[in-house]
Symmetry: C2
Subunit: 278 residues, 2 copies
């Protein structure tokens, strides 16, 4: 069947931008700026914040006080000089004209820029986010319904298994250990590593992966990787609960029990009413 490209349109390229030790300029200090600050700190960047003190949101003030990773200037944006050495710019000010001027300066310097509330001026949009680091999930409605993105975020949060971030952290450690044991970038070995990790993640569920400790990882690598196989969780985690032993989930248990007693009650009533002694 030939590929259908007609429905491939109307979206964005959603990416995880890397900002470790990069310089991000935020112009403005209100509530939007406060939420931007959180997003940027999570990404391990350094922040320069330019905004008159009287306009700072309480949350913004708290961030400035809480971390040396924010350099704060109590003034308005002063022009191209403020863009020196800057890797990304976010404007969050009420002045649309000033915002557009900043965007134009950034464009000329090929600095990625987001101007709050002016979508056509943005190189990139933000969305609603679930953060369970190292897991991050971003929900974008491509500008159609930011509020709906919040609703969807809540649903997604409810659907994530507890401890999912631990499972990811453990798998990340195992990947590092595997790369130490079988080093090198790309090529056949890289593909073999990737296949083994994929097989493992398909064979184990998230709860099992979250139980991996140093000893279990060593056993997995010694007995699994070295022999080109993926041991079962039961082989590696002696105390772990076997799958299939898992109890009936609570969400199924309640209606089952309710139904059971309703059945008992109805039958008892029926028997009592229609029994020959009555």
């Amino acid at each position: 069947m030939p590929v259908d490209v007609s429905n491939l349109s109307g979206g964005s390229l959603i990416v995880a931008w890397q900002l470790k030790d990069k310089n991000v300029l935020i112009v403005g200090g209100g509530d939007v700026a406060a939420s931007r600050i959180e997003n940027i700190l999570v990404a391990d960047a350094k922040i320069t914040l330019i905004a008159p003190h009287e306009g700072l949101h309480p949350q913004t003030k708290e961030y400035i006080a809480a971390t040396p990773r924010i350099t704060y200037h109590d003034r308005v944006f002063a022009g191209a000089g403020d863009l020196e050495g800057v890797d990304m710019v976010l404007t969050a000010i009420d002045d649309v004209e000033r915002s557009r001027e900043i965007v134009a300066l950034c464009r000329a310097r090929r600095i990625p820029v987001n101007a709050a509330d002016i979508p056509p001026s943005c190189d990139f949009y933000f969305g609603s986010q679930v953060k369970r680091l190292p897991l991050q999930i971003m929900i974008s409605t491509n500008g159609k319904g930011p509020r709906l993105a919040h609703h969807i975020r809540t649903r997604i949060e409810d659907s994530l298994p507890q401890g999912v971030e631990n499972a990811i952290e453990r798998v990340g450690e195992l990947r590092s250990k595997l790369r130490e044991r079988a080093p090198g970038v790309g090529g056949e070995l890289g593909k073999k590593r990737m296949r083994w990790m994929t097989d493992l993640c398909n064979a184990w569920d998230l709860d099992e992966l979250s139980l991996l400790d140093d000893a279990a990882m060593k056993k997995l690598l010694d007995e699994g990787w070295e022999n080109g196989q993926v041991p079962s969780p039961q082989d590696v985690l002696p105390g772990a609960k076997l799958r299939g032993e898992v109890a009936l989930p609570f969400s199924l248990l309640v209606p089952t029990v309710v139904g059971f007693f309703a059945g008992v009650a109805c039958t008892a009533v029926a028997v009592h009413r229609f029994s020959p002694r009555n």
Copy 2:
């Protein structure tokens, strides 16, 4: 309570990059390139693909044949000249050294670049994606467990309500109509628009929003926006099902029924066994 920034670390800045009518260069044509092509087409960009024909993945060939939005060159990357007028570069080749050379050329020109399989050389990472345009959801494990991101994606897909993309599309249309009726960027009016849309999205659920047609939107704006209130779905959608009338969800119905008949059966057996006639 002072803000705690100690746990704000180890992540990325997840953004929806805007590529409409931009030029994206993809170097390489294998399976990774094929998945990149899909992501870039979704974002409405133009693609230049440079890769020798003999290395093309069947899916890549299909994309080239299917759309004029891909300009294909049957050759290897030829140097800085290939970066002329390019807004973003993705490499997906097995040659790590060549990939790093391309990355260095991009860096010098401030062109955002992703080099498949060489995380330290990437300005941005890709993740696992749910696409129900205009809804896009991206799951990143920040490089710790790409395979787990796929598992989580499946869970998220299962948790999304049917027709969620229709609800978003309708809300997007309503936002456009509202902006036509009360135009202007930023300021008090912008905030009033945003508040009204937020109130609406909080008061209506996704199923109800997906039923908005032109007539219903007009009624919402005439009777709601103009009077500074949010009408209920029942006022605007005469045929719509009231909330609260919704039937017992299937997931609860099955265990309830099973429990009921188990209760009936157990009671019947007990009555039969212990009845005085036996």
